[in-house]
């Protein structure tokens, strides 16, 4: 095994305990880093108390740890301030938060533009909003390679586009979206931009200010942190103009029988007790990520993607989905083998200790556009190396032998 990868793998408790595991499903859930796990345990065993409520020493310590977590996330995203960071239950909750809070500012006939390549979590909430308020929903199409086709963007936005909500990177094809072009067109139309960063964050720190978007959503479990926590970043003035989504404790200014006022962001959007330990674990994962040599990791991930694509292209009856080359995609590679079902493929691969995902990947509109109902996906993260790729290619030989 590659020495650099071996050193990385040793920091992941599950991978350290399972040296023979070829984990190629990080696009679904990345493994948790030891620092994140330690931070959760340390918090729960030394600082566990509710936040923004107590005045005793333990509660103060919990407040400090939670605030520090918010600052870590802000650094990871290069946010303008920690007040722009809203902790949620995950990326889905963050996207739904925008669909509800921002959605409540829209009127019938206003338009939201999404894309065919969206995960259902950035698709269904907008359909629900359409049902509720009568907004128009329009779709950016994809080309045969799954890349967003931005050729008709101004036309698709029309005159009443209020929001463009798109993925930064497809969870099926790995194709990166041309965020700069989308932001430029949205600005021209006076629309806000929401970027679903769920698949991007495990490939390095992000810069929301350079991206130029207004909202950014991601999940902790996809960037080596715990489950049950996610983040919505919103530009300060945009968040300040939004009504709350959930009502409850922690999100109010004052409550009387006749009237209730809202707290300022981010608390306005964090009703109830937030996922405190999870946020602290997430921050530990992000702090660790910020110490890494990302150009080196990107180069390795891309090389592995190339190796995989080259190997897959030699398999008869195999159709690669997404961009043909590894340099225009995240290291997510989905494929379809004629006559073989992804569930069966993944089952056989599991017998060789390979963890891959088969199915529609919560992206049925995209799969329909690509002409498949289900596919098999290998997703590569920083703890994978050449042995994982070779194991997969060898495993696919057995797949053919076993299933046909």
């Amino acid at each position: 095994m590659n020495a650099a990868v071996s050193a990385l793998r040793s920091q992941f408790p599950l991978l350290a305990a399972a040296p023979g595991l070829h984990y190629l499903d990080s696009a679904a859930t990345a493994q948790i880093h030891g620092a994140a796990l330690d931070a959760v345990i340390r918090h729960e065993t030394t600082c566990r108390a509710n936040v923004m409520r107590g005045t005793y020493a333990l509660a103060e310590a919990a407040d400090r740890a939670f605030d520090a977590a918010r600052h870590s996330v802000a650094r990871f995203l290069n946010a303008g301030s920690a007040e722009e960071i809203v902790f949620t239950a995950g990326a889905t909750a963050a996207l739904n938060l925008v669909a509800q809070a921002f959605g409540n500012t829209l009127k019938a006939g206003d338009r939201v533009l999404i894309s065919v390549a969206e995960h259902h979590s950035n698709f269904v909430p907008w359909q629900m909003l359409r049902e509720r308020t009568g907004i128009e929903l329009a779709l950016i199409p994809v080309g045969a390679d799954g890349v967003l086709d931005l050729g008709r963007l101004p036309e698709l936005m029309g005159s009443r586009c209020r929001l463009v909500a798109v993925t930064q990177c497809s969870n099926v094809t790995g194709a990166w979206s041309d965020v700069a072009a989308i932001v430029a067109a949205a600005r021209q139309a006076g629309a806000r931009v929401l970027l679903d960063g769920a698949q991007a964050v495990q490939h390095g720190p992000q810069d929301v200010r350079a991206l130029g978007v207004d909202f950014y959503a991601f999940s902790g479990h996809k960037c080596f942190g715990p489950g049950g926590v996610g983040v919505l970043w919103g530009r300060a003035q945009v968040l300040a103009a939004l009504p709350p989504f959930l009502g409850g404790g922690g999100m109010i200014g004052e409550v009387t029988f006749d009237n209730t006022t809202w707290a300022a962001p981010p608390q306005r959007f964090e009703a109830g007790t937030p996922p405190i330990a999870q946020a602290i674990g997430l921050a530990a994962a992000l702090d660790w990520m910020m110490t890494l040599d990302w150009p080196q990791i990107h180069a390795r991930e891309q090389r592995l993607g190339e190796l995989l694509i080259e190997g897959l292209q030699r398999i008869p009856q195999l159709r690669l989905l997404g961009p043909a080359t590894a340099d225009s995609r995240a290291p997510i590679v989905s494929f379809d083998i004629e006559g073989l079902h992804p569930h069966d493929i993944c089952q056989v691969l599991d017998g060789r200790n390979l963890a891959l995902r088969g199915g529609h990947h919560c992206a049925q509109p995209l799969l329909a556009a690509l002409g498949v109902e289900a596919c098999t996906r290998a997703s590569i993260a920083l703890y994978n190396d050449e042995t994982d790729i070779q194991a997969l290619l060898d495993g696919l030989v057995e797949v053919q032998r076993t299933l046909t």
Binding site: H120, P342, H343, C362
Partner: protein
């Protein structure tokens, strides 16, 4: 880890390959379509009855080997059965997959699915054609007109 060779034994592959009952009925008394939202598998089952017993069955199945084998087995065995018998077999198959029962004595071929016991995520693949046939029979019992299609998509946690 699993034993893929045990799961994908020849009996299952041959049954799937045979695709007994694949196709459409010209005149069906009941029809139902069930989806597995986890993977997009889909079974459309049509049934015709004569004096309460299945006189013809046809299915269009898009799915994995397990799902196709189960649909094919129904295509081969369902004719002559009534709704109660199909329900009993389906429930016994469900119990067999959950590891609590030996399997339907009247349908010994279903033993080919015993290796799937260890993989709960695959139980639905085996059961989907049975549940589709039950739904189609339910349409007849409810007096629904023929060729009514409905999506009975079930849900399963995180996708």
């Amino acid at each position: 880890m699993n034993d893929a060779n045990a799961l994908y034994q020849d009996a299952i592959k041959q049954m799937a390959q045979a695709a007994h009952g694949h196709g459409q009925l010209e005149s069906a008394h009941g029809e139902a379509r069930l989806d597995n939202p986890l993977c997009g598998d889909r079974v459309r089952m049509q049934v015709a009855l004569d004096s309460g017993r299945i006189s013809a069955v046809a299915h269009q199945t898009k799915g994995c080997l397990l799902c196709r084998a189960a649909a094919s087995l129904l295509g081969a065995r369902a004719v002559g059965q009534d709704a109660a018998a199909i329900e009993a077999v389906a429930d016994e198959l469900d119990a067999m997959l959950k590891g609590a029962a030996p399997g339907p004595a009247a349908w010994p071929e279903l033993a080919m699915f015993v290796p799937a016991r260890a993989y709960a995520s695959r139980h639905r693949c085996v059961l989907l054609p049975f549940r589709a046939l039950q739904a189609a029979l339910g349409k007849v019992a409810a007096g629904a007109t023929a060729n009514v299609t409905e999506n009975h998509g079930e849900t399963k946690g995180a996708l």
